[in-house]
Amino acid sequence: MKNEQDGGRTKEKETSAAVDSAGTSVEVWEKVKIKLNEYLSADAFSRWFKSAELIEDDERGPAVIGVNSDMQQIWIETNYMDEVRAAFAEGAGIHTQAFIRVLGEEVAPSVKKVARGSASVSEQVKVVKQDEESPKTVALERKLKKMGINPEFNFESFVVGDNSQFAHAACSAVASGEGRSFNPLFIHGRAGLGKTHLMSSIAQQLLISEPKAKVVFLTAEQFANEFIDAVRKGNLDSFRKSYRTADIMLIDDIQFLAGKERTQDEFFHTFSGLLNTRTQLVLTCDRPAHEIQQLEPRLVSRFESGLTVELQTPGFETRVAILQRKMEQWNVVLEDEVIFHIANLIQSNVRRLEGALTRVASFSFLSSEEMTIAKVDDLLRDLIRDENSRQITIDAIQKAICEQYDLSLADMSSRRRPSSIAFPRQIAMALSRQLTNHSLVEIGEAFGRRDHGTVIHACKRVEQEIEVNTEVKAVVEKLIAVLQR
């Protein structure tokens, strides 16, 4: 037994480099099982893993282990995930996230959960879904799930408005292979505006047109974690190989790399390697590349070397269109007046807009009451409050500062700089940076056409001051509280 494992290990060294291409899932799984048998007691192994299978692991992406019962899934997920991960790494040299699925139920009823608590909604949604599902899409869906892509995120379900037209066009060009010069494609925009949706659409479109394409889709956080794991286990080689052989690489939330130097370094090499071989890269970020703090300048310049597109907050018409699309999907009918009202209330974030619609729609199912404007206000109370607090303007900040320090508004944009004016002005800039989504340049503009460097300096100065001077700290905290209500 012992010998066999050692034998297995040396053999694995030879094959590990070729695992991605040559190692069949049966071989991989056998190796993993040997390791698992070692880690677990005999009883636990035979009870939970003996009958389990590895459902195809041909491509990079999370491994999916198939089991026969719900209980196996639950028990493995709660108790043995560490062992499974270790067994994949040690046994087969694969660093991957593993998922446990119950065989015979390929499509998890994800839609059902949205509508839980309202039987009528879920039934209708289910009917719609079944119509769409042909065997082919089931296979695709499974593949997408395995890669961590939400199958509902495709180009068809994306509502295009003025705010997103350019981004949408660029993404479809990339997905159809016309956009080779848009490399890398850098999508930025605030949370909940559809960055991940667009990126998932690219991956999905590509997989439909070229099912064999090697698509790497992950978040920057996953990249960092896998990198750390690889460093710890000392198999950087297979880590690099697995990424540098991709046909297209899509990375979500790249801002996560900020401040992680070694990961940035590794990422830089992967990134340059892929760019040099003209592999398509797509990145998303919650702000423009040059505004990511603590990101190496060479990465910033590379991110900006391709096409940068921005997703802006949708206008009223687009918001209404999004709501209507969602209602169609869920088979919900609400009066126009109500829809307009919701679109008016929630302006900054599409995800939240959908959340609001879910709430209103399921409520109108549950109660027989007529849905009125007042009712909507009541239902969305907390969202509205949040929404209002989000919209702090530079003007409001300037006003608050002037009140606090007894200055005139003109002082905010004047060139005068005695410290009695300059320091409050710096606080105002720092707060604008912190509380609004304006760029450094825009903030500089608002403070008497100052340079963005001045704004950066102001932020640093205030930060330092807060650390050493408790009085300043108290004032700033009070101002933030006042501004956020």
Binding site: L40, A44, D70, M71, Q72, I74, R116, S367, D378, L379
Partner: protein
């Protein structure tokens, strides 16, 4: 509507039903209690659309009728009233006047027609269960219910009427508690379903040690009639996983220990377990059980308990809370702990049909 009622009786009745009302409800009517006054007294009902509770209170009704009033506020008012007698009258606009001694309150209610009616259980399957049997069963299992909402089928107690037995099961993936009891019911009534946590909590509040309760079951709802009180609840939709898979078939070692002694020892020793190393280590020797905990940056504790044991020497670690929970809920003098090895789940059993499977923690020594 008009009635006179003893303050304590009114308060008891309201407190029985007020727990299902959530403070953050979007439907105002759901914060209210439905009060129906008839010649036989008051019936008080609350619901959150998932679970509904209804109870009675004795009152002298001079004018029958019904209304709904905000229950939390009403309870606070009644509790503070100065006199032992309360007089309540409600006008046609659902405005209630409450008089007690020198104090007078007027509170605004909502019409009873808005109150969602509790489900109807005509032609439902019917079961008779001794109250103490269900009460003990719930007590011995409910602590193991999962609170992980992504696995919502586990957010309740699996209740099975099969082969002349009532079986209750709860699990959260790390532990599983099960109680099996003989019970008579018609063979055509064999079934199983999942009672959600909230209904379990309400049940535990209302169950007594004597008498029977009637359980009625329709397609997706269940109703418990306990004396004059009623609990109606939606069932959790979905299939409960096959819990039998978790129960180890073989056991190698058996240890018998006094329940109280083990509970107290674990409780004391676990004072020295920390969030980081939240485990107690049990080491087995001849007729002795050592319980130890240590946290690198806090300190350590150990204690030994006298037990009946003649198996091999070995050690196993458990989460102290998970180990204490069943010990607290049981009332037997002794419990048996069946084990295989340090990596396999331990099974806690009593003489009657209680069983608790607990996953060990990895010991890093």
């Amino acid at each position: 509507m008009k009635f006179q009622i003893a303050k304590e009786a009114f308060l008891d009745g309201l407190q029985q039903v007020q727990h299902v009302v959530s403070s953050r409800t979007t439907l105002p009517i759901l914060s209210n209690v439905l009060i129906e006054a008839s010649d036989s007294g008051l019936r008080l009902t609350t619901t959150d659309l998932d679970v509904g509770v209804s109870g009675t209170a004795e009152a002298e009704v001079s004018k029958t009728g019904s209304t709904t009033l905000p229950v939390k506020r009403l309870v606070n008012i009644i509790r503070e009233l100065p006199s032992a007698e309360v007089e309540v009258s409600v006008d046609s606009k659902n405005i209630a006047s409450i008089k007690s001694g020198p104090s007078f309150f007027k509170i605004i209610g909502l019409p009873d027609t808005e109150f969602p009616p509790l489900a109807d259980f005509q032609d439902a399957k019917e079961y008779q269960i001794p109250q103490n049997l269900l009460r003990d069963g719930l007590k011995k299992t409910s602590y193991a219910i999962s609170t992980d909402e992504t696995r919502y089928v586990l957010n309740g107690i699996f209740t099975s009427f099969k082969e002349g037995k009532l079986t209750l099961v709860a699990t959260d993936g790390r532990r599983l508690a099960m109680v099996d009891n003989d019970l008579e019911f018609p063979a055509s009534h064999e079934t199983d379903f999942i009672i959600p946590t909230k209904a379990v909590q309400e049940l535990q509040r209302l169950l007594n040690s004597e008498g029977d309760l009637t359980l009625r079951l329709s397609d997706n709802q269940v109703c418990f009639e306990i004396g004059s009180s009623i609990i109606v609840s939606k069932l959790i939709e979905g299939n409960y996983p096959n819990y039998r898979q978790v129960i180890p078939a073989e056991t190698k070692e058996r240890l018998t220990v006094g329940r109280e002694a083990l509970l107290e020892t674990v409780r004391r020793v676990s004072l020295l377990s920390s969030e980081k190393s939240n485990s107690v280590k049990l080491s087995f020797g001849a007729n002795e059980l050592g319980v130890a905990a240590n946290s690198p940056d806090i300190g350590e504790a150990n204690e030994s308990v006298e037990v009946k044991y003649d198996g091999k020497e070995f050690a196993i670690a458990f989460n102290p809370d998970f180990l204490q929970a069943p010990l607290r809920a049981l009332d037997d003098e002794n419990v048996h702990l069946d084990l295989i090895d340090e990596m396999s789940p331990g099974v806690l059993r009593t003489e009657d049909a209680f069983l608790y499977v607990l996953m060990p923690m990895r010991v890093t020594s």
